[in-house]
């Protein structure tokens, strides 16, 4: 017997078709809905951006983390949650990087990725990354991290500038102009004084005092003094036979106390201390030699370059945090011994007094800015 029990009605087919078409349409929307939350690249880009902001716009934490006199490597490596590797000079000068922070960030002491992950990249996910930095005129690229994968990584590029160090180059013209030589005493021993006036450098009227990118901070910065024309005497009747740099001494005085006479005991002297193995070393290059000498005395023919590493004077300040010490004065003396008495580089009795390491561009090359670029890749 044939009947119509198994037949599908036209109405059912129409309804079922509408349902299936709508179901397929909705199903195709679902991948698009989840696209935003499943895209790893978006997350990596966000992390790269965040890392870039931390490195370029943040001075880091704790304050002066880059200064080894205050925070040694052990402290930084064992306190991951209280340390942040910001490279900016200050929060008010974004994109202006501190050379001391850059050097410490890229030093070989810290271990990739562990030390950097918890101090610069952050996040619960164990990201891999590559951070590179290059400045105009530099032959090499500073870099930490893994080799970049073929694709699928987050990326950000930041344009930065690096605050350089100041330096004083003192030759015959400067010595003559500032009368930094002695004609009063025809002796064999001559002392040349350099004055680091923290009051004038940090709390004076010069606009550089409040512009960190141009400020000379004796407590934190590298201080470099180049002496040239050391084969010159200032008595034409007596040519120089041999000069010998016998000692370098560091003295301290308070602003309210004029530099005392007679001299107090120096707070640091070379000798007996060793220059290069000092806790914060001094690098002394004689006559253009590329290897620094470690002990004194040393014979000098024509020139010397004396570099106090960043933070050398930090612990010599009177305040607990001497970064902001504006009252303590630092004096550096260089003692020369001549084989025969003569008029020589000597400002002990100079009418202009000590050589002032200050903001006068004619005598001290000021801190400059060097452009560079930083690339951060995260995956």
């Amino acid at each position: 017997m044939i009947d119509d029990t198994a037949n599908l009605s036209i109405d059912f087919l129409a309804g079922f078709t509408i349902f299936i078409v709508a179901f397929i349409y909705v199903a195709t929307l679902i991948p698009g809905l989840l696209l935003g939350v499943q895209s790893g690249t978006i997350d990596y880009n966000a992390v790269a951006y965040r890392t870039g902001v931390i490195l370029v716009e943040d001075p880091g934490s704790p304050v002066s983390w880059e200064n080894p006199s205050i925070y040694n490597n052990y402290y930084l490596q064992t306190n991951p949650y209280s340390t942040r590797f910001g490279l900016a000079l200050s929060k008010d000068s974004p994109n202006i990087l501190s050379v001391q922070k850059v050097n410490r960030f890229f030093c070989s002491t810290f271990v990739y990725p562990a030390d950097y992950r918890s101090r610069a990249v952050f996040g619960d996910y164990p990201y891999l990354f590559n951070i590179s930095l290059q400045f105009t005129g530099a032959n090499t690229t500073e870099s930490i991290g893994d080799i970049l994968p073929e694709g699928g990584y987050g990326y950000i590029r930041r344009v930065v500038q690096l605050k350089g160090w100041s330096n004083a180059t003192i030759g015959k013209s400067t010595i003559t102009a500032l009368q930094q030589y002695s004609t009063a005493n025809h002796t064999s021993t001559h002392i040349f004084w350099i004055h680091l006036n923290s009051t004038e450098l940090l709390d004076g009227t010069n606009p550089a005092c409040t512009n960190l990118q141009y400020q000379i901070n004796p407590w934190q910065d590298q201080i470099m003094i180049n002496l040239s024309d050391l084969n010159t005497t200032y008595n034409p009747n007596f040519p120089l036979t041999q000069a010998n740099l016998s000692a370098i001494s560091i003295y301290r005085a308070q602003q309210s106390q004029p530099f005392p006479n007679p001299l107090p005991a120096p707070i640091d002297s070379f000798p007996p201390d060793n220059l290069t193995t000092h806790a914060i070393p001094i690098y002394l290059y004689i006559d253009g030699n590329s290897t620094p000498v470690s002990t004194l005395p040393q014979n000098v023919t024509n020139s010397l370059s004396l570099t106090f590493s960043p933070g050398f004077f930090y612990l010599m300040g009177s305040n607990t945090n001497s970064q902001y010490d504006t009252t303590t004065q630092i004096y550096v003396s260089l003692t020369f011994n001549l084989t025969q008495p003569n008029w020589y580089l000597n400002n002990t009795y100079s009418p202009d007094g000590y050589f002032d390491y200050n903001y006068t561009p004619m005598y001290v090359t000021q801190c400059g800015l060097t452009p560079g670029v930083m690339e951060i890749s995260v995956w």
Binding site: D11, A14, F19, A22, G52, S143, R158, V159, V373
Partner: protein, 171 residues
């Protein structure tokens, strides 16, 4: 044989379809923001790069000096200044670590308040290495710069802020 039993199936199908589509519309409209693919990320990277470049150009390299951007805007009437802007800006945005470089294009202009035209906003082109044709997808970055110059169409020379506006794009 025709009867009315199938009418129910049609109603159910239509109702289910409407409920599903409406539910999906509600979910998507409240939980997502439509963007043209991931374009906003490369836009963000370009904006950051352009802003950084203009900020660095507006930073004096030594104390008491004018910023390079200030100098270029003040002297933009000569070709040398436009060439200098072109060189400096492209160096900033195209340089990468290592030897490879990027290949970005830009078009820069300056907007200012014309004091002799009822403080109306005027603008003029500053420099460019390619003109916008309409098919590019540029980002816009700006930087205020303090200058002391007599702007085109303005008889007064006074210190004022001018807006350097740069359209930046990648081929």
């Amino acid at each position: 044989m025709v009867n009315c039993e199938g009418q129910l199936y049609t109603m159910e199908g239509v109702a289910a379809a409407i409920i599903m589509v409406f539910t999906m519309y509600l979910v998507m409209s409240t939980a997502t923001t439509y963007t043209p693919g991931d374009a906003h990320i490369s836009d963000m990277q370009l904006e950051q790069l352009g802003n950084d470049a203009l900020l660095m150009m507006n930073t004096p390299v030594s104390l008491g000096a004018e910023s390079p951007l200030q100098t270029l805007v003040e002297n933009n009437n000569n070709t040398a200044a436009a060439i200098a802007f072109n060189t400096t800006f492209l160096n900033y945005v195209n340089n990468k670590t290592g030897s490879a470089t990027d290949n970005l294009h830009y078009m820069a202009s300056v907007s200012y308040t014309n004091m002799t035209d009822n403080n109306a906003t005027w603008d003029y082109p500053l420099a460019s290495n390619r003109n916008l044709t309409g098919v590019e997808h540029p980002v816009r970055v700006t930087e205020w710069v303090l200058v002391n110059k007599q702007f085109p169409g303005d008889n007064m020379k006074e210190h004022r802020a001018a807006l350097v506006e740069v359209f930046l794009w990648r081929d």
